[in-house]
């Protein structure tokens, strides 16, 4: 009985992730798409008024983090569209913002702040790994040799390519090209799914080889304990990363779907930028996970 139970517990690991990830991805996409209808006109300002407010705002120039608010029509992130009164664009501005530039900057800073939290989240796991590696180098090195290097490498290339492709798509929508954005997002989703498929295969393979820590662990001998620590870190790290991937795929798929319906404009593509940030961040996490898991200790000294 006790040998049967651990097996089903481990397969729960594989079943849990997609559900969690998909649910979260849909929740985020739904929240972003149900915008509040405008009841009152935006706090829209003309050029002279904007300049006057800019002066009032920066009267005391001692604030450390100075905001660069592009004045309407002067350039900045949204270039010529910044002060546009085109109703197609204006209807996307929420009521607490002064204009598209203001809203877009705010959304991007918000996403960067969220990514900062993710950095600290994964940082905790890396603290754990770092301490264990420096205390039990031999066990960890031996354990990491059981990872499948070719899967890890292919996955890294897939993820790098997907990040590049989505970045290309973001460049295209700035010109108003929804069609190319759609294809870029679709390819990104495809690459992400390929990543996940390989990952699931890799996990299945690892479970077949009894590399999940616990009784019956494949690596025996004096370093069995620290090898289990490495493989715990492996499953937790790649598992959390996979959850983020699934959420990211959901978000990119939603961008593709919206682009297909010609929803974005050259003057409004904030969701694409925000999703691009998230997707590239997931890529960044993998770029740090990959060498620590697959490469660093592979060749013994």
């Amino acid at each position: 009985m006790s040998s049967a139970r651990p097996a089903t517990r481990r397969s729960r690991f594989l079943a849990l992730l997609p559900g969690l990830g998909l649910f979260t991805g849909f929740l985020v996409a739904w929240l972003s798409s149900t915008g509040r209808e405008r009841e009152t006109p935006p706090m829209h300002v003309g050029r002279t008024e904007a300049r006057r407010r800019q002066q009032l705002r920066t009267q005391r120039r001692s604030s450390v983090l100075r905001l660069r608010r592009g004045e309407p029509g002067s350039g900045g992130y949204y270039g010529a569209w910044a002060g546009s009164t085109d109703p197609q664009i204006v209807r996307h501005i929420e009521f607490q913002y002064e204009g598209m530039q203001h809203q877009a900057e705010t959304a991007l800073s918000g996403m960067w702040l969220f990514l900062t939290t993710e950095v600290v989240f994964f940082g905790g796991l890396f603290l754990l790994y770092m301490v264990y590696r420096l205390k039990h180098l031999d066990g960890i090195a031996e354990a990491s040799r059981h990872t499948e290097l070719w899967i890890g490498t292919v996955n890294t290339v897939l993820l790098l390519t997907s990040s590049a492709v989505f970045s290309y798509g973001l460049g295209r929508i700035k010109e108003g090209d929804n069609r190319r954005l759609f294809w870029a997002s679709a390819v990104t989703v495809g690459l992400g799914l390929a990543f996940l498929l390989l990952k699931f295969y890799e996990w299945w393979d690892d479970l077949q080889k009894n590399l999940f820590p616990g009784p019956g662990f494949a690596i025996t001998g004096p370093h069995s304990g620290s090898a289990q620590l490495f493989w715990s870190f492996y499953f937790i790290g790649t598992g959390l990363h996979a959850i983020h991937m699934i959420i990211g795929i959901g978000l990119v798929a939603w961008v593709a779907w919206s682009a297909r319906r010609q929803r974005y404009l050259a003057g409004w593509f904030t969701p694409v930028e925000v999703v691009g940030l998230y997707w590239s961040f997931v890529d960044m996490v993998w770029l740090v996970l990959f060498p620590t898991i697959y490469l660093v200790d592979r060749v013994g000294s």
Binding site: T40, L127, P213, S226
Partner: protein, 543 residues
């Protein structure tokens, strides 16, 4: 004559409460003011649940052998008390209620930067709270709110997994709220509202949000690791595998120490507001208070090791953490001196919010100073895990923080509800809370000093007298907490209608009607005065 609704408003004017009255307009609202009220309801419920657990604990401690519950149940009670009070009351308390309501008003904005994320955070909070409550009531957890391994992961019987899931979900509340506040304060200030014209409440909220955003993810990771260990029966912190149980404590306290600053910083902000308003005087040393909030937020991340002095950490790191813990006390002390400087030669009014703020200053000073005792390595060896520590943190969390919460609640009550609370009852409750609190927790300092350990349902007979005193005090405290619940509810229906600025205070939130209309201001305000501009007639100058 309107017989409906929360506030029986035959509204003289339309406001955010009368705009729409269906249940869905409340549950799906993105108006920061309504979300603040949703939070008020949840926070109050959690407060009384956690308080009930505390009442049972104090009742049990009336006799040396434990009066009403056995040890296992007692363990579950203090865990429940800790988990609910920390994560479902104190960590959210002021920011999600008063903060949510007042922040856009104070900066002259129409709403927060991300209103839908604000709503989502309330649902995450409720879901997390549901998980945690189910776990705590269905079978309970006996590990203490600190969830140390290997007790929580290998040996504890109970619903550790469920409660940890609840805590992770409530953590998203912190991250979402913190993110919202930081971005809002940076981006949505009205014209002329420069950083040095911001009310100090917002500086404190900003500092709190920095901690929310940067500390909570590490808690999430600590909880994920517990879940992994427990679900898959794998030792991540198991010494037999080469793991290190102290690493869990490092990850846990990396969050939990800044968390206690999350709990107190908004209280600092409220006190700054109340003290200036009821001394009719500008704050003494505005920039010092502002930057001390930010420096507390930053330095608080460097001191967590002082919770682990006797856990087996190296002496070298303990010395470093002890030194940093002394340093973090300095900004708090700066604030206390500045508040005293504000009171000096002020025109003081002893309204209820002011009584709470004055109580805060005294109780916080005591709590903060006793923190230095436990931050000293030698003293901590004796005092760790005794009632001294319990008294220390309750002086800050309950004595100071809950007082600040009530003070802010009374101060902004006219703005939130459009009604005045009964002043005399407010003053009675404030004084009663102060005395009840001291009677409850001062004996605990002595108990701890004399060696009574914490988290025990029974104790040696020589401690009984002080324990009985403490339990009597807790009864008074319980009654004193029920008083505001009663008269504030009463005031919703029978209170005198409040004008826009009942306290004649400065600040943009007082320039709009009470209660505010949904979009807060009829036109975008422009700020030209310095903050806390209470000029004496002879000093009046036109800025």
């Amino acid at each position: 004559m309107s017989a409906s609704g929360l506030v029986g408003l035959d509204a003289a004017h339309d406001n955010y409460l009368t705009e729409e009255k269906t249940i869905w307009s409340w549950l799906l609202t993105t108006d920061h003011k309504r979300i603040a009220l949703l939070y008020f309801a949840s926070i109050t419920a959690f407060f009384f649940l956690g308080g009930a657990a505390a009442a049972l604990m104090r009742l049990n401690l009336l006799t040396p052998n434990g009066l009403i519950v056995d040890h296992e149940t007692y363990n579950r009670l203090f865990t429940m008390h800790g988990v609910i009070m920390v994560w479902f009351f104190l960590v959210p308390a002021i920011p999600v209620t008063l903060g949510n309501f007042v922040t856009p008003l104070m900066i002259g904005a129409r709403d927060l930067a991300f209103p839908r994320i604000n709503l989502m955070s309330w649902y995450l909070f409720m879901t997390g709270g549901l998980f945690a409550l189910v776990g705590l009531f269905a079978g309970g957890v006996d590990t203490g709110w600190t969830f140390y391994t290997p007790l929580s992961t290998q040996y504890a019987k109970g619903y550790v997994t469920l409660v940890c899931c609840g805590i992770i979900l409530s953590g998203y509340l912190s991250i979402a709220t913190g993110l919202n506040f930081i971005v809002t304060i940076h981006k949505l200030r009205a014209p002329g509202m420069t950083w040095y014209r911001l009310p100090l409440f917002l500086w404190s909220l900003y500092a709190t949000s920095v901690i929310y955003v940067l500390a909570t993810p590490v808690l999430a990771m600590a909880m994920v690791l517990i879940l992994f260990e427990r679900i898959f029966r794998v030792g991540v912190f198991d010494p037999a595998l080469g793991g290190d149980p102290l690493l869990f404590q490092h990850l846990f306290w990396f969050y939990s120490h800044p968390a206690v600053y999350i709990m107190i910083l908004p209280g600092f902000g409220v006190v700054s507001e109340v003290i200036t308003a009821f001394s009719r005087k500008s704050i003494f040393g505005y920039k010092f208070i502002a930057w001390s909030s930010v420096s507390i937020a930053v330095i608080s991340f460097f001191v967590w090791g002082h919770h682990m002095f006797v856990a087996g950490t190296s002496l070298y790191s303990s010395v470093v953490f002890s030194l940093l813990s002394f340093i973090v006390a300095v900004p708090s002390a700066i604030k206390v001196f500045n508040w005293l400087g504000t009171l000096h030669k002020g025109f003081i009014h002893f309204n209820a919010p002011m009584l709470y703020a004055l109580g805060f200053i005294g109780l916080f000073t005591m709590g903060g100073l006793t923190g230095l005792f436990v931050a000293s390595l030698g003293a901590d060896v004796h005092l760790h895990d005794t009632y001294f520590v319990v008294a220390h943190f309750h002086y800050i969390m309950v004595g100071a923080m809950v007082s600040a919460f009530f003070g802010g609640l009374h101060y902004w009550w006219p703005k939130i509800t459009g009604r005045m609370y009964p002043e005399v009852w407010g003053q009675i409750a404030a004084v009663m809370i102060f005395f009840g609190f001291n009677l409850t927790f001062f004996p605990q300092f002595i108990l701890g000093y004399e060696g009574m350990p914490r988290r025990y349902g029974s104790y040696a007979p020589e401690y009984q007298v002080l324990n009985v005193l403490s339990s009597c005090g807790s009864t008074i405290l319980a009654v004193a907490y029920l008083l505001p619940l009663t008269y504030l509810t009463w005031s919703l229906f029978r209170g005198v209608r409040a004008p826009a600025n009942p306290w004649a205070a400065t600040g943009l939130e007082w320039q709009t009607q009470s209660p505010p209309r949904t979009e807060n201001f009829s036109s975008t305000p422009v700020v030209t005065d310095p903050p806390y501009y209470y000029p004496r007639p002879e000093e009046r100058q036109h800025v």
